[in-house]
Symmetry: C2
Subunit: 156 residues, 2 copies
């Protein structure tokens, strides 16, 4: 994807949805540990994680938050969106290797371009792993942006 477009406030409809699907891999857990500073072994050490109630490595809870925020920023409403708030409930663990479907839905249009979005993540078994709501200020105007290329990131 090299360009993204937004959906301005006036065009947003109740019930409008956007979603992405993403499999959680080793690289995700290592990068999230590095950028957040959370190096708990339940995320990074297979032997330790196997000894916990989770029976294996799990993703950081807030990594799910990061995926939700990316769908809002990239797709619904997309570029120009200002993030005002987010509530998250972590319902079930996300395991290394899980495939997540991150789904946002417009549930209320508020004054001053503000919008309430339902923000939900399901795993490959269609179980709700994260539930919540976002409040954003949607962009006023149509906007189409070139996405900056990220420099290559090498791990190890």
């Amino acid at each position: 994807m090299n360009q993204i477009q937004n959906i301005p406030y006036a065009e947003l409809q109740l019930g409008q949805k956007a979603e992405i699907t993403r499999q959680i891999d080793e690289r995700d857990l290592q990068l999230f540990a590095a950028v957040s500073g959370d190096r708990n072994p339940v995320h990074l050490d297979a032997d330790y994680a196997a000894s916990t109630q989770f029976k294996g490595r799990i993703a950081h809870g807030m990594f799910s938050g990061a995926l939700i925020s990316a769908v809002a920023a990239m797709h619904l409403p997309g570029p120009g969106t200002i993030y005002l708030g987010q509530n998250l409930r972590f319902m079930r663990p996300v395991k290394l290797g899980d495939t997540l479907r991150v789904e946002l839905e417009v549930i209320e249009k508020l004054p001053k371009n503000r919008v309430r979005l339902a923000t939900r993540i399901f795993n490959q078994d269609d179980k709700l792993v994260v539930d919540g709501e976002a409040e954003v200020m949607a962009p006023e105007h149509k906007l189409s942006l070139d996405l900056p290329a990220l420099p290559p990131i090498q791990i190890g």
Copy 2:
């Protein structure tokens, strides 16, 4: 830091605090863009960002959420904590180069080892940039853990 200890539920006190201080740099924005998938140019492209209301590059909102979650997971209550929920209000933008103080405070002890924490982030001007609350299940038992080393990460 090579080892971390937790604070079990029974030892947590109302008003107890933990904090970290961290300056937000280029690497943070690039790693967060990579791991979240949010490559909006307001985070990555200095020229574009200068043309926005923010007058320069800003950090992803949920990067602040990631820092909060790391303080809970590493320090208060620390290892063994289970993240149940998080509410965030993004009050002011976080700019590239800002120095953030991420502060958690125990505000309520609930049944079944659950704890409510105030979660606040201040910038170098002591302005509140993120306000919110976390709910966690605190660990039952004292635990001291070796932190896994992260593999080196090279950007560019």
